[in-house]
């Protein structure tokens, strides 16, 4: 009974989150190239997953990560596999660190978001290396990730406020359980 209620509570904000993701992906894949930014994209999917890792504590978190990555894969040829693995592992890491890491201030939120993007990069790079991608490719990916990650991290505090409204989570409460 309780689990059903929880699923009902998750469904609506998750749907809004996915619609938001679609709009942000359209911005990243269409508006940014129109503005002349062809070599850099903003990975909003990572930002959403980091948020969910911190604030959304539900048993279906892995499926939510999968849903985000699945929608993301409609806009890229990357596929959903590697991102889902990275996302689920990051959510698992966050679940262990939630008691220690609190997104209590803007600088801390920026720092933590950047750190988790580095973790995301390490996981996805490891997966790519297993698939025998060269080191030059990984290095190139890293140099792209740094500015993109920095911009995303700077956006994180404001974005998390918006996400708090969608998920009706209290941002001052670091646990933010739903």
């Amino acid at each position: 009974m309780d689990t059903t209620l929880r699923l009902k509570d998750i469904f609506r904000p998750m749907l809004i989150t996915l619609v938001l993701l679609i709009l942000l992906e359209v911005f990243s894949s269409t508006v940014m190239p129109i503005l002349g930014i062809l070599n850099y994209r903003l990975p909003f999917n990572i930002l959403i997953i980091i948020y969910m890792g911190f604030r959304v504590q539900s048993s279906t978190l892995a499926i939510q990560v999968l849903a985000v990555q699945y929608i993301h894969s409609m806009f890229t040829i990357e596929g959903w596999g590697i991102g889902t693995i990275a996302g689920v592992i990051i959510c698992m890491i966050i679940s262990y660190l939630r008691e220690i890491v609190h997104l209590s201030s803007w600088p801390l939120t920026i720092l933590v978001t950047m750190l988790f993007q580095l973790v995301w990069f390490i996981i996805s790079a490891s997966m790519l290396l297993i698939k025998s991608v060269g080191y030059a490719y990984i290095l190139d990916k890293f140099w792209h990730m740094l500015p993109e990650g920095l911009v995303i991290s700077l956006m994180a505090p404001l974005f998390f406020i918006l996400m708090d409204k969608i998920w009706q989570s209290n941002s001052s409460d670091s646990q933010g359980d739903i």
């Binding site: 309780d2 689990t3 679609i22 992906e25 359209v26 990243s28 894949s29 269409t30 508006v31 190239p33 129109i34 002349g36 062809l38 070599n39 850099y40 994209r41 990975p43 539900s58 048993s59 279906t60 978190l61 892995a62 499926i63 990560v65 999968l66 929608i71 993301h72 409609m74 806009f75 890229t76 040829i77 990357e78 596929g79 959903w80 596999g81 590697i82 889902t84 693995i85 689920v88 698992m92 997966m127 698939k131 991608v133 030059a136 490719y137 190139d140 990916k141 792209h144 993109e148």
Partner: protein, 289 residues
């Protein structure tokens, strides 16, 4: 910890394991060369691509207005027309030159089989890949326009890529800038073969070129027609960097693509009426073994 929490925790672990397994399986079996999309994926891509097309169209109109009316109306229009004509003529000359060389070499020695002439489907670029590490783009033509998976995509300047994912009204093109795209190419002057792959900073690299091959800067690289995707003789780019070591049997060759991807707005998809499915060369070889 009460029973409810325990069961919730157990469900969470089970779901994590299932999703991770699915993702691992998907990553392991994923085909980097082409992607078949499900009806659900097609539906979503068609819907979101329409938004992308709308935005792209509006911006195109705005840019066009600024270019045509705020700047110089007549000069701009004439310039655009003439540029297109010159590009078309350059391509024609290139093809004729290539044909001439081919004929000279093979005259009287070979009989060519009947070739199926590809039709051109003109399409507009509506968006780019949302991940910066992949170099793909989305065009506003799809299955309904006769496009097939792996159809080559070109412009007047040269090769753009091939159709990687397809829906009814839109298609994703894997460009030659992407590391997953491999083109069998050759240097026009020396007929030296190599495999062209996407590299870094908007460049490609030509692999498997022997160290003794007489390659020089600005050599033109064209498609060899052996990869089962691209027709022979389409320009890929020019050699912009050569690195030779004192050891080894190969040299590193970097290519600047002929197509200016920063200003890519329209492309042509080459579609044959043949119903025969294309198989990538390496896959055909695998099957024969």
């Amino acid at each position: 910890m009460n029973t409810l929490e325990m069961s919730s925790r157990r469900a969470k672990i089970v779901l994590h394991v299932i999703v991770l397994s699915m993702a691992l399986y998907s990553t392991a079996v994923r085909d980097g060369a082409v992607q078949e999309s499900s009806p659900f994926e097609r539906m979503i891509i068609n819907s979101v691509a329409s938004i992308q097309q709308g935005i792209s169209g509006v911006s195109g109109i705005i840019f066009q207005l600024v270019e045509d009316y705020v700047a110089n109306i007549n000069a701009s229009q004439r310039n655009r027309r003439l540029t297109t004509t010159v590009q078309e003529l350059q391509r024609e000359i290139f093809y004729l030159d290539e044909l001439k060389r081919e004929n000279q070499r093979l005259k009287g020695l070979l009989k060519f089989g009947a070739e199926i002439k590809p039709q051109k489907v003109l399409a507009r670029v509506v968006s780019w890949d949302s991940s910066s590490e992949f170099k793909a783009l989305r065009i506003n033509k799809g299955l309904k326009d006769g496009i097939k998976l792996q159809s080559p995509v070109v412009t007047a300047e040269g090769v753009v890529g091939y159709i990687y994912r397809l829906t009814e009204h839109f298609a994703d093109v894997l460009t030659v800038l992407d590391g997953n795209n491999r083109v069998d190419g050759m240097i026009k002057r020396t007929r030296t073969h190599g495999i062209i792959e996407g590299f870094q900073r908007g460049r490609c690299q030509m692999k498997y070129v022997a160290r003794t091959a007489p390659v020089i800067l600005n050599d033109i690289v064209i498609t060899a027609g052996l990869g089962n995707i691209y027709p022979k003789g389409i320009p890929i780019g020019t050699i912009s960097r050569i690195e030779q070591e004192n050891y080894g049997i190969l040299q590193q060759v970097e290519i600047t693509p002929a197509v200016n991807f920063n200003r890519l707005e329209e492309v042509a998809v080459l579609v044959t009426t043949s119903k025969q499915n294309k198989s990538l060369e390496w896959r055909v070889l695998d099957q024969k073994q």
